[in-house]
């Protein structure tokens, strides 16, 4: 159970407070309701590049990191297709420094040319390090545009190509800030050894003077239902053949989300899972096999991916995956098996409460979903899922005509 108090400032900024007196630390987490899905198709990778620029100094504070380190704090951030999330951890008695820093960069950035130059290079190196200079590193750069034709999920957060990052201009940066980095588009969570009253005073002092700005209203082109099986073959300097299969599934707020999460657990959570036992251990077709969901806000993907044992053909391997999926469509999952994945989820949720930062991030994310209190109802939602639900969603989802399959082959095999 993660308790919290909640209030909204006059400029529309939502604030949540989680009091935890067992730690001497505090966390300030701020979620901006903007991700790669909000980008212009010709300027992809921008939300993430912008995240880097948020550390390049703000209007009144030339250096973001240094004053924070000076009070014993640390920070980081991440960008996804849906959100951009920034967080600070520091000794609770120095919490005001976090308010000072974080509110100033919501007020306005320094927009320094030097910072833009440097971060274009840094992000280009990140693109190389994580996506281009790694075996299989560019899978998502290929799989997204195969699975999505209209929706902005068709590109990855790093962007479609290096040139989009290299061509980013200061005007783009300013426009993006004005459009998305307003109090109305943000959720602030403060957690740890703090009191709600004190947080309220600090929030009113540092954040309330920031102009509300304009509310960004999202109007994304939605994907049309997929009606044909899609396939693509890639040949690269990799040692093993691999298969990636993507199926369409509903977005995060759909009631079936919980059933999909359990379905992926049944297939591939741990060494008792179906794919691991059947395809890796018994049939020895894969040396690595996984199923997982993308958990995105708009309709997402259910992924099955594996690396093939040398000498196994992609036809054989793919057929074996389908045969496991067909079983889920034809037969109800046994009670024991469903209870097993539910128990595991319950346990994971209890263990996740060991981390203050995780609690703060989760509160912000669930508030974005509509209500932070949903976080505390998760276990119940998972427990409600029935074997019939798993069978129903398997039938709805695992259809060749809504699948996108990427064959990632070694150069000799292509």
């Amino acid at each position: 159970m993660v308790d919290f108090n909640r209030f909204t400032l006059a400029n529309g900024l939502k604030v949540l407070v989680h009091e935890d007196a067992t730690t001497p630390m505090a966390v300030l987490n701020i979620l901006y309701d903007v991700g790669a899905r909000d980008e212009d198709p010709e300027k992809t990778g921008f939300a993430h590049l912008f995240e880097h620029l948020m550390f390049g100094g703000s209007v009144n504070i030339p250096n973001y990191d240094e004053p924070l380190q000076r009070v014993g704090g640390e920070n980081n951030a991440f960008t996804s297709n849906d959100i951009t999330n920034y967080y600070i951890t520091l000794p609770a008695e120095n919490i005001e420094t976090a308010f000072w820093l974080e509110s100033d960069r919501m007020l306005s950035l320094a927009f320094s040319e030097k910072s833009l130059d440097t971060q274009r290079n840094v992000v280009s190196e990140e693109f190389k390090q994580r996506y281009l200079n790694q075996p299989y590193g560019d899978v998502w750069l290929k799989l997204r545009p195969l699975a999505y034709k209209k929706h902005s999920y068709r590109w990855a957060t790093i962007g479609k190509e290096l040139s989009h990052i290299e061509n980013a201009t200061m005007d783009d940066v300013k426009a993006f800030f004005k459009k998305h980095y307003t109090p109305q588009n943000a959720i602030l969570v403060v957690g740890g050894n703090v009191k709600t009253e004190e947080v309220k005073k600090l929030a009113e002092k540092w954040f309330e003077p920031i102009p509300a700005g304009e509310k960004y209203s999202r109007d994304l082109v939605q994907e049309e239902p997929q009606t044909e099986a899609r396939q693509e073959t890639v040949k690269a300097n990799v040692p093993l053949n691999a298969i990636y299969m993507a199926f369409k599934m509903p977005g995060r707020l759909n009631q079936d989300y919980y059933a999909f999460d359990l379905l992926s657990d049944i297939l591939s959570r741990g060494q008792s899972s179906r794919l691991y036992n059947s395809l890796l251990k018994e049939q020895k077709l894969f040396s690595d096999i996984n199923a997982y969901i993308s958990s995105s806000l708009d309709p997402g993907l259910f992924i099955v991916e594996g690396k093939l044992v040398e000498g196994i053909t992609t036809e054989t391997a793919e057929k074996a995956i389908w045969s496991e999926l067909e079983k889920l469509k034809a037969e109800l999952v046994a009670d024991n098996e469903l209870t097993k994945v539910k128990n595991k989820v319950e346990s994971v949720l209890v263990f996740s409460e060991m981390s203050l930062l995780d609690k703060a991030m989760n509160l912000a994310y669930y508030e974005l979903l509509g209500d932070a209190a949903l976080l505390n109802q998760e276990t119940e939602e998972f427990l409600k899922v029935k074997a019939e639900d798993i069978k129903r969603i398997s039938n709805e989802t695992f259809q060749p005509n809504s699948s996108s399959t990427l064959y990632y082959l070694t150069e000799e095999n292509a």
Partner: protein
């Protein structure tokens, strides 16, 4: 009027409280250290075994045992073990590191009595079936093939081998090592290492007397002792050496440079940690400021010092654009030279002090982290004085001491320099 240019007042962290463990022993003498917290209804139990009987011609014995230990006993198959653990929502993890192998159980308190017997069965009766070993060998060889395509992985392997040779710290694992694995070797190692006289148990979480009795019932008897010899290595510093593997298609080069140094037992260790922080140990470090934030050569660069039981080493590691690899190396050596020739300014040193104290406080997030802090000192033969002295050193070290430490330990003439990619 709010003055946003004025930083709020702050305080340096003054006290850091460490939760000390309670020590008990099982009936057969296995020491049990418990760090208690009643906050959540869960517990972590770690069974830690020293690595033993090192044979350089069989470098995978301990690693394969650690990976396959839950793959079948006389009573249960690999699948049954996994199903039962998962059914109770528990987590069973094994880990092999240079000095130790551990088996860790995470469970909700309500299922402790159900999962402990499974862990006992695994730790005392594991069978290493041949068919499981065959699958392991095949799949590990495939994973190795993928890893050998990663420049950062290659740079780690080459660096460790250059410093530590064919010991458990440095052996460069090849596909042939997997092919040579024999079931008898695994059983032999399992019997030698996973024995009560080679085991320490560290518990963290909600763990009362009744829970201790459950643990004692399971592990306090019927567990065969062994005669094992703990691994022992001696290392001597090497001369300057270069390892360069050219990858013509590389977009980035992986750089890893450094040398043997001291470990946690040495009186200079805390000072060296502070020096390391200045150089490359945090986001605001000199290497990050210069090579990422000023030059934009890399997504990240860092330095570290690593404390093993029988050695220590320091390193600087990064992946940089292939076209700027030489320039990046030049800048790294330049930063080291500055530390050896110029005093760290008072403002920077204050920042580093405060950052390190905050970081230490933040690293004690929950009961598991308190247990991890205890393991650091216990297995190095130290006590909580170590942390008191560390905190004191962070608060009081002078720029002159840092300069002396830089000259004593950052002796680039004897650095090993590994580059994988293009220069």
């Amino acid at each position: 009027m709010l003055n946003r240019q004025q930083a709020p007042d702050f305080k340096q962290v003054s006290t850091i409280n460490f939760i000390h463990p309670e020590k008990k022993a099982l009936d057969n003498g296995v020491p049990v250290f418990t760090i208690y917290s009643g906050e959540q209804d869960l517990v972590r139990i770690e069974f830690i075994f020293e690595n033993v009987n090192w044979k350089f011609e069989k470098p995978l014995q301990a690693i394969a045992v650690s990976a396959l230990i839950n793959n079948g006993t006389n009573k249960l198959s690999a699948k049954e073990i996994a199903e039962q653990i998962d059914f109770y929502g528990a987590f069973f993890q094994t880990e092999y590191v240079q000095d130790q192998s551990s088996v860790t159980l995470y469970t909700l308190n309500k299922h402790l009595h159900s999962v402990l017997p499974i862990v006992k069965d695994v730790l005392s009766e594991s069978q290493f079936p041949q068919h499981e070993l065959d699958i392991y060998i095949q799949n590990q060889k495939q994973k190795l093939q993928v890893n050998l395509k990663k420049n950062d992985v290659l740079s780690r392997k080459e660096f460790a081998h250059a410093l530590f040779g064919d010991t458990a710290y440095g052996v460069n694992i090849q596909a042939g090592h997997y092919d040579a694995l024999k079931r008898e070797d695994l059983i032999e190692y399992f019997k030698a290492a996973y024995a009560p006289n080679n085991c320490t148990i560290i518990v963290s979480g909600k763990f009362d007397d009744a829970s201790f009795n459950l643990l004692n019932d399971a592990f306090g008897q019927d567990w065969e002792k062994s005669n094992a010899v703990k691994n022992s290595f001696n290392f001597t510093s090497t001369k300057k050496q270069f390892v360069y593997t050219e990858k013509p298609e590389a977009l980035q080069s992986a750089i890893r440079i450094g040398q043997l140094a001291i470990n946690r037992k040495h009186e200079d260790f805390s000072g060296l940690q502070i020096l390391n922080t200045v150089l490359g140990g945090y986001f605001g470090s000199r290497l990050m400021n210069n090579i990422r934030e000023d030059k934009g050569y890399t997504y990240g660069i860092g330095s570290g010092i690593s404390s093993l039981q029988q050695a220590g080493y320091l390193f600087i590691a990064t992946e940089v654009g292939a076209d700027v690899c030489s320039a990046a190396l030049t800048e790294i050596y330049k930063e080291i030279e500055i530390l050896k020739n110029e005093l760290v300014g008072e403002e920077e040193l204050d920042l580093v002090r405060n950052y390190m104290l905050g970081s230490m406080l933040g690293s004690l997030e929950n009961v598991f982290s308190h247990a991890d802090k205890f393991k650091n000192i216990y297995f190095a033969g130290l006590d909580y004085d170590y942390y008191s002295k560390y905190i004191e050193k962070v608060k009081t070290i002078t720029a002159e001491e840092l300069l002396a430490l830089a000259n004593k330990y950052l002796t680039t003439d004897s650095f090993t320099e590994v580059v994988i990619g293009k220069k």
